[in-house]
Amino acid sequence: MRRILAVTTFTFRELLRSRLLFVWLISVIVLCGLDFLLSILSFGSILQIFMDLGLAGMEISGLLVLLLGLAVTYTTEMDQKAIFLHLAKPLTRGEYLLGRILGFFLVNCLVVLGMGLVVVGLVIFLGGGTVPALFYDCVVFILLEMFVLTTLGLTYQMIATSMVGVVLYTFFTVFLGHCIGEVQWLLNQEMSHWIKVLLRMVYYILPNLEAFNLKDRLYDPNLVLGWAQWQDILLYAFSYSFVVFLIGWINLEKREFR
């Protein structure tokens, strides 16, 4: 456990000092600018726009930091072979991967929660309103989504043979994971049996990122979010991440470092 914590701290410090937080700062500036612009261009429901825009901004900044972090660390760890030094130490490859995942996730939490504070500030001070209780649930959902994507991204890092590959795989997983809800809709349409089999495989293999998309339902009066839903979503996030982590670990065990 102490070794995992050491890798987590190392990764966290590495990412924080990699100027990735500039991305966060730029996201905050863009969000504030957009909110200001929209308050001029739009009329009515400005608080709703602030809130929706803010939640989207939190997710986008988390994703950007994740993608850039993956690119930066791939160059250091894999291309420049810094990973040799870690793996030659009394540290299992599983511990190394888990430590990296937790380090990335901590940075992501910092970015998402920091953006969340900016959003709350904008809503209260610029919009003069209050933050709906569901906002905090949305933040946790975004963090769960980030955890799944971080696990996937780092697993790709252990499998891929280039930095571009890692970034592209993660990027497309985000897209496909979000349109997975529409795969179910497609399955109900008339089409060939084999295409349906293929779609069903895609549906089960890709992460169902729409399950974490509470931000699009913040004002939905039909939304039910109770203990049963929380249980499902938490169990889903951790079971999916654990499968991905195990696959990443097995790949890392098998990977050769020339």
Binding site: R2, F10, E14, T76, Q80, F84, L85, L87, P90, E256
Partner: protein, 326 residues
């Protein structure tokens, strides 16, 4: 020829049996196979320093990576400190310095050593004390608080050896440890190795630098094109009669006295002549017979170099007839 292991009373720190590594490259339809290592047998004994020599691409780094399980062998086995490298207890006792170690540039030297120390199980004041000891040893105390991005190549190499030593290793594996070091750094590193050897650490050095081998190592092995050609104690090599090259310093003004001798032109042009040790005595007597004044004679290569070149079959190539050689 299968190299014969020199038997000692010490137990094996690394025991390599029939180790082979094949790399497959290219596409499905045009596969290309490279045999990086071909059935290597090697024993490295505890409390000794072993130097692995070979040309670039001989397979030295591949061998080290196989020992550290960074690569998987195509065939054969490796035992390290009596166990498998996969065991944490074995890794706990190993230090590794890769060739030109690369670190995350966002950390300071001290932070890196603290991190690697914590991977070895140190924590709290024990960790701090150990880091201070290492910083003192590698003479990096004053630069320890600076980010690695500002370090020179030599400083990086020092931090590299620092992280390798932080866990008080019983076995230290170094891949080209002297690369990037200036003469002072080179001497300091050599002194560290000598001290470690005195303290009972087993050293496995993969190097090009023959002087380092001669001064530090107890035994050397020569790897050529993936095969282990020779393994011998350094004392035997130094006593061996492998011919080395010499430079005979003759004033160019003496050249007219050497008319009819093939190296007359070389003496006139270069102020001396390079000869193989095999013909040194004959050349000197020839010069004396012509009353040419010999200002001095010095060896151009060491016994180890000659042994190395001889083992890889390069001696014949390098000893091709040279201008001025009788």
């Amino acid at each position: 020829m299968e190299p014969t292991a020199v038997m000692t009373d010490s137990p094996c720190a690394i025991q390599i049996r029939g180790l082979s590594k094949t790399y497959k490259t290219g596409f499905w339809f045009t596969p290309k196979v490279t045999h990086a290592l071909k059935g290597v047998h090697l024993d490295i004994y505890e409390n000794q320093a072993f130097g692995l020599m070979g040309l670039n691409g001989a397979g030295k780094t591949t061998l080290i990576k196989l020992v550290l399980a960074l690569l998987r062998p195509t065939a054969g086995s490796v035992m390290v400190l009596g166990g498998s490298i996969a065991q944490r207890s074995v890794r706990q006792q190993i230090g590794y310095l890769p060739e030109l170690p690369y670190f995350s540039k966002q950390h300071t030297g001290r932070e890196l050593l603290e991190y690697f120390g914590s991977l070895h199980g140190f924590s709290g004041s024990t960790l701090q004390h150990r880091v201070d000891e290492i910083l003192e040893l590698i003479r990096m105390r004053s630069a320890a608080g600076l980010k690695v991005s500002g370090y020179s190549k030599g400083m990086l190499q020092r931090i590299g050896i620092g992280q390798a030593l932080i866990g008080k290793p019983k076995l230290l594996i170094c891949d080209e440890p002297m690369s990037g070091l200036d003469p002072v750094g080179y001497k300091e590193m050599r002194d560290i190795f000598i001290d470690l050897k005195k303290a009972g650490t087993t050293l496995f050095l993969n190097t090009h630098i023959l002087d380092e081998v001669e001064r530090v190592c107890d035994r050397i092995g020569i790897l050529h094109e993936g095969s282990l050609k020779e393994v011998a104690p350094i004392s035997k090599i130094l006593e061996s009669s492998v011919p080395v090259d010499y430079w005979i310093d003759v004033d160019s003004g003496e050249a007219p006295k050497l008319s009819g001798i093939p190296f007359q032109e070389a003496v006139q042009k270069n102020g001396g002549v390079q000869v193989s040790g095999l013909v040194l005595a004959e050349t000197l007597s020839l010069l004396t017979s012509r009353k040419a004044q010999v200002k001095g004679v010095r060896p151009l290569s060491s016994q180890v170099e000659a042994y190395f070149l001889n083992a890889i079959g390069a001696q014949a190539h390098l000893n091709r007839p040279r201008m001025g050689t009788p």
